[in-house]
Amino acid sequence: MTPAELDAHVREIVRWHFSPDTGSPYWLRKAADLSFDPLSEVRGFDDLARFPAVAEEWRYIPAGDLIPRGCNAAFDVWETGGTTGPPTRIVDAEERTRGILRVDRMLDEHGFPRSDAATLPVDSPGPRDPALGPGPIHRAGTSRPAWLHLGPTGPHLVGTNVARLARLRGMLYHTVDLDPRWVKRLYREGRADEARRYTAHLVEQALAVLRTQQVEALSATPPLLQALCEHPEAYDLLAARVKGIIWFGTSLSPEGLRLLEDELLPEARFVGWYGNTLMGIACQRPRREGDAHNCVFSPPGPAAVVRVVDPQNPARRVAPGEAGQVRISLLNRELFLPWHLERDRAVRVAWPGSAAWDELAEVAPLDGGGARVEGVY
């Protein structure tokens, strides 16, 4: 997408969200507080910086206020992790499912497992998620491999996203409940032993699936992937059966990824996801010759435009190869968020579409906390 096309996209999205017949109650109300007229004064992407930061308000407003009047579909509510306070809520009808179709294509490029049963041409509609459109249909009697999702479900979109993906790829979705807010709370309260017990509880449930089901695909957070690798039986089962692994939710260093790919589970295809409920999924793109990083994430633009910016001056993009803070803009008909700074740092990776948005590498939490010394260590 060229900068001019991105600007046109921004104008179209702003027109949609601020027109009385299509916009959401939230943005129509908000328009009155703005010092400018979004319909006439937002001419392109750079003008989005004129909006105030609003994501904070999405923790408290009724989620339904975010639904544009112009959208007639059924909406769902999803929540962020809640690391930094009460969860931020978003609404979604079909947009995130479109994102999943994109991820599905990218997984094919990675050679990620897909069941043969799912590759048949489809013409008869079955009872399935209508948002998926014509999807695969299963030949009776073909075996369906299993996909184990070891991550958040419930209000966190990722669990549902993986379920949709498993269906698209002709696999049976198995999951284990994981409450990330509880885990974070345990760590925050210094209850590392309880966190360990909770992890062991999750690994035990994963084992129950791994022992009895034909698990070929796994999606898990890096700490849980580590816990599985550290458990001898779970590790043997993974090494013997799993052909594809998606990791997400927390960062994984380049060496950690190399260790998993080359030494621990060399038979599996690894695909990283960066993202969250707000952004959607920035799926790792296949490696190319000359890549400086072993994992480069490709964000779902222009529905979400992701850029790496200077933390001191978020209006300035850092140069390719430099690290900065992740800034996102949600620019689709179901949701408009002019800009939001994630609490993540990443290296900006140049790609042919760099003018509009960035590819990312080496994503990690922004360093925080001041220096204070007591003691000699």
Partner: protein
């Protein structure tokens, strides 16, 4: 720039995760490979296999002794002992004379490994390490066995001599996984190179530089872990019985006025820096002695005095100590005369109650002794990696014991035998010295926080009888 790799399975490994270690002027000094926490269980499994075989302990001791001699004399990995000390100084800010002395101290401890082990074994004999049996009394025999095979070691960067601890564990037949301190990955690397050179089976060692995320993994996968750290690490580890945690030492010196007053007026002739390194100042100079209690090794050891307690009236004594610390010149740590460590983090230095000063583009915490600090004041006994301490005065008849609790090391300059007895029995004091012996006094292998062997070995009922009916 120097490169410090990961070491596991008996060989060097590179890492895609690399941290650039900077010196105290901010210049890049070394590229340090970082191990992901995911690697820990793998490395520990390799160590477990390496330690599985029966250990020929005397052969290990010979190799460690030879390595100790190499450590202080040989060029290892292209680095002479002097160059090594320079690297440690640049990376930590410790004065160069202290860095060089610490290397010699560590080397001597290794060279005399048998002597160090004698502190550790029941009865002072090396036999139990080899036979796994002890005879507490004639005719009374039991087993004495390691409680595991692999020791995790979360090293600090404040003083190179701590690395003798894991070498002693190797000497006891354990394998060790070391997470070097962030600022000093050089010393364990040099020890490893010396051991390899000396023919020690180095597949019993894993060197895993990296962040705090390695610590829970080490605790989880190793049989025992020795860790050094501050409050953040303490809360991470909790009260795990598998961990021997070394937190701030908050070491103290109690001075009874009647034990020093006969020394006459405080000597002023002795210039700061002129005291012989490592040796205690003589009892004829209480001021010099107390200054060294605080200043030794730049005040960076957990056994350097963090607080002085004066019981009774000794006019001018504390003032003289304070003045001498105050007059210390703030020199570049590479200056052979330097005694005061430089700090790498100005913000951290400024947040200390001592306050930061800048000199010649370097940051220091101003050396000093804060007088008349109320023992209830949070500053009292607070430990900083600097020659900085607090002092409190107590009436002649006061009981100082409550204020001495929670100290790693205590020196008592007292004639109060009852106090000595009570301090000896006090569980919240780990090391006790009576008379003009500084709290940082140590001998290789001597108890520090208990004995390492008591953490790594246990007694077990064991009795053999001949089967009479066959």
């Amino acid at each position: 720039m120097r490169e410090i790799p990961i070491w596991r399975g008996g060989r060097e490994r590179t890492s895609l995760d690399v941290r650039v270690l900077r010196d105290y002027r901010g210049a890049p000094l070394a590229r340090v490979a970082a191990a992901p926490s995911l690697l820990v269980h793998r490395a520990v499994r390799e160590l477990r296999e390496a330690a599985e075989e029966h250990s020929d302990l005397p052969a290990l001791w010979d190799a460690i002794a030879a390595a100790g001699r190499l450590l202080d004399t040989a060029e290892l990995g292209g680095c002479t002992p002097d160059e090594h000390a320079r690297l440690v100084t640049l990376a930590t800010g410790a004065p160069i004379a202290d860095s060089r002395q610490a290397l010699a101290e560590l080397a001597a401890g290794m060279a005399e490994v048998r002597g160090a082990l004698r502190w550790q074994a029941p009865g002072g004999s090396l036999e139990p390490f080899m036979t796994n049996r002890i005879e507490p009394a004639p005719g009374k025999c039991c087993g004495w066995v390691p409680v595991g095979r692999v020791l995790g070691f979360v090293a600090p960067s404040n003083h190179p001599a701590v690395h003798l601890t894991w070498v002693l564990a190797l000497a006891m037949g354990w394998a060790v996984a070391i997470r070097p301190g962030a600022d000093d990955p050089f010393t364990p690397w040099r020890v490893l190179l010396a051991l390899r050179e000396a023919g020690f089976p180095v597949e019993r060692i894993a060197l895993l530089p990296g962040g705090h995320d390695l610590v829970p993994a080490l605790v989880e996968h190793c049989d025992r872990t020795v860790a050094y750290g501050g409050p953040a690490l303490a809360s991470l580890l909790g009260r795990d019985p598998r961990v021997l945690f070394n937190g701030p030492g908050r070491s103290k010196v109690l001075v009874d006025a009647n034990a020093v007053n006969s020394a006459g007026p405080p000597a002023r002739s002795q210039e700061a820096g002129a005291t012989s390194a490592g040796g205690a100042a003589g009892p004829e100079d209480p001021v010099g002695f107390l200054v060294e209690c605080i200043l030794h090794d730049g005040g960076r050891k957990c056994t350097c005095a963090s607080a002085l307690l004066l019981r009774g009236e000794a006019p001018g004594l504390l003032e003289a100590v304070a003045e001498r610390l105050n007059r210390l010149p703030l020199l570049d740590p590479l200056d052979p005369e330097a005694r005061v460590p430089a700090w790498k983090d100005f913000a951290a230095a400024r947040q200390t109650p001592a306050g930061a000063v800048e000199a010649d583009g370097l940051t220091f915490v101003r050396p000093g002794l804060v007088l008349d600090v109320d023992p209830a004041d949070p500053r009292f006994g607070m430990e900083l990696p600097a020659p900085w301490a607090t002092a409190a005065r107590l009436p002649e008849d006061a009981d100082p014991l409550p204020l001495l609790r929670g100290s790693l090391a205590v020196t008592l300059l007292t004639k109060d035998a009852a106090l000595v007895r009570r301090c000896l029995r006090e569980t919240a004091i780990q090391k006790l010295f009576v008379g003009p012996i500084p709290p940082w006094h140590t001998e290789p292998g001597a108890p520090h926080k208990g004995r390492l062997a008591d953490f790594l070995f246990t007694a077990k009922a064991f009795r053999e009888a001949v089967i009479p009916w066959t």
